[in-house]
């Protein structure tokens, strides 16, 4: 059986389960960014007229799209994948079919990125209601969200395949995800950080996801798009390679 097909069977399983919970996930995915944008955009935006050539609302709105992609992909690849792997023993059932470990892992990453693209679309909708979408470049925003989702899901998968319990995820969230949320340019430009911190931020994937997404949403020209894509792809490839090794070691004992 072709690899692509096997991967899609895993993707489809998750899609069918998720479809039932569409209501709650719509509320979450539209409600949350709406509240953040109202609170931050209008509240903080009242004091800050302009950031990097755009209104503060536009600035935060485009940042939230990227950080939501990061959170959605990470949570799915941490909690949901762990649930399927350990308590639910779904992968054990899958490994009695022609599917292999690589099919399962890639199918999961594909699913995480899909879910995160859906979230991204919801937020874009909210953002456009606030008038923060400028220009046709926004059409490219969703593919970029998808690529970012693949990247963040792959990284989280490294943690999940090694985790011994859900508690393990706190390390990853606190030491990696939250710092990116705070320091990678969601709420203010990375350049305002002390030079050392700004340099570190340049090595983190969220910085590059934002560097791609923000111009696309607010209608500014992209700068160095290939560099930003390359960073996301390198993180993806390295993480997938490690996650697959860990997954094989864990599932094929």
């Amino acid at each position: 059986m072709a690899m692509g097909f096997a991967m899609l069977a895993v993707w489809r399983r998750n899609f069918l389960v998720w479809r039932r919970l569409l209501g709650p996930s719509l509320v979450l995915n539209i409600g949350e960014p709406f509240l953040i944008l109202v609170g931050l955009g209008f509240g903080v935006g009242h004091f800050i007229r302009e950031v990097g050539g755009m209104s503060y609302l536009d600035f935060v709105a485009s940042g939230i799209i990227a950080s939501s992609a990061m959170f959605t992909a990470s949570y799915e690849a941490l909690w949901s994948v762990y649930t399927r792997m350990v308590p639910q023993r779904t992968y054990e059932a899958l490994l009695a079919t022609p599917l292999g470990v690589a099919d399962i892992m890639l199918g999961e990453v594909l699913w995480c990125a899909t879910k995160c693209t859906f979230t991204g679309a919801c937020i874009l909708l909210v953002v456009s209601l606030f008038g923060s979408v400028h220009g046709p470049g926004v059409l490219l925003a969703l593919p970029v969200v998808f690529v970012s989702g693949v990247c963040f899901a792959s990284m989280a998968m490294v943690v999940t395949t090694r985790a011994r319990s859900y508690d393990f995820f706190s390390y990853y969230l606190t030491l990696f995800i939250t710092p990116m949320f705070v320091f990678c340019g969601v709420f203010y430009p990375v350049e305002v950080l002390p030079p050392a911190a700004a340099a570190v931020a340049q090595w983190l994937p969220l910085t590059h996801a934002i560097a791609l997404l923000r111009p696309l949403v607010v209608g500014q020209p992209l700068t160095q798009p290939l560099l930003h894509f390359a960073v996301l792809l390198v993180y993806t490839a390295a993480s997938l390679w490690v996650a697959l090794k860990f997954a094989r070691r864990r599932l094929l004992v």
Binding site: M1, F5, A6, L16, Q88, T97, G100, L251, L252
Partner: protein, 299 residues
């Protein structure tokens, strides 16, 4: 269908399977027996390509494992020791999504779905969620799920553990029907009666080795005397009397087991000594099992 030679598996230096040779012919039903921890599930996991071999050779459908895992699993049905049905789906959806993992589309599968649910005596329960099914229903659904790809080989790891007698009989009937259809089967069980009823050949494992093999009837004939007397709460005197009458005696807990080829003498001896609590029966696979694997607790 399956052939293993010198098959070994060790976990962190501890040997779970220490060099076993066996083969299962096409169309046969083979039983893998053994106390807890004997290595039955480990052998099955290697057959399915879920566990790399530590040594030896293993071929399924003539294909070398674990290299051919995907191709072998495409033609195999698996009932795992612990149910791993998908709790996010109903009974029917479980079958449908599982078929999809074999590349079988919903349209192709539509006709078979009801037939499989009926086979599992779950007709009309297709819409039930997994957590609402009883243990026996889940087990039956697991068996139905193992058949979605119309497998040539079916591997069942303790298919009836934890089930009531009715459920067990139903599953036996289904497995016999599958055997009539020409499926090759490999099953593990702790119920010797089950192995005796279903299996053409059994392999008794202990501590990672196969210590006996053969057709159940022949194994009984070879290993133990044909007649058994069981005496509950047996007194020392009863044991002595049985021994004096030429029986080989063993005690399990407070039960005396007297094995003999000459039942009349032993019957007479025990009649005077043990009163009414004497049960006479033919030797069974359980006697073989206990004789070969000892009476102490494992694990």
């Amino acid at each position: 269908m399956i052939s293993a030679s010198g098959l070994r598996k060790s976990y962190n230096g501890r040997e779970a399977v220490c060099g076993v040779d066996f083969s299962v012919a096409a169309g046969a039903c083979a039983g893998l027996l053994g106390p807890n921890g004997a290595g039955k599930t480990t052998v099955i996991r290697m057959i399915l390509g879920q566990s790399p071999l530590s040594g030896g050779e293993l071929a399924v459908f003539g294909l070398a494992m674990p290299a051919a895992a995907a191709r072998v699993r495409a033609r195999t049905g698996v009932v795992p020791q612990l149910d791993n049905l998908d709790p996010d789906f109903t009974a029917a959806e479980n079958l449908e999504t599982y078929a999809r993992y074999f590349g079988i589309k919903a349209a192709q599968f539509a006709g078979r779905k009801e037939a499989l649910l009926d086979f599992a005596a779950l007709g009309g329960r297709g819409d039930a969620r997994i957590e609402t099914l009883s243990g026996g229903m889940r087990r039956r659904l697991s068996i139905a799920r193992a058949l979605v790809n119309d497998p040539q080989l079916i591997v069942l790891d303790e298919p009836t553990t934890g089930l009531d007698p009715q459920a067990r009989h139903l599953i036996w009937a289904r497995l016999r029907r599958l055997r009539q259809q020409g499926k090759t089967m490999l099953l593990t069980t702790h119920y010797m009666e089950e192995a005796e009823r279903l299996c053409d050949e059994v392999f008794i494992m202990d501590a990672g080795r196969i210590i006996a093999r053969g057709a159940p009837k022949e194994l009984i004939r070879r290993t133990v005397e044909p007649h058994v007397f069981e005496v509950e709460a047996a007194a020392e005197a009863a044991t002595a009397a049985a021994q004096a009458a030429g029986a080989r005696v063993e005690t399990v807990g407070d039960v005396l087991l007297a094995y003999t080829a000459e039942p009349e003498a032993v019957a007479a001896a025990l009649k005077t000594m043990a009163g009414p609590g004497v049960l006479r029966r033919p030797a069974s696979l359980e006697d073989v099992f206990l004789r070969l694997t000892g009476r102490g607790l494992r694990d």
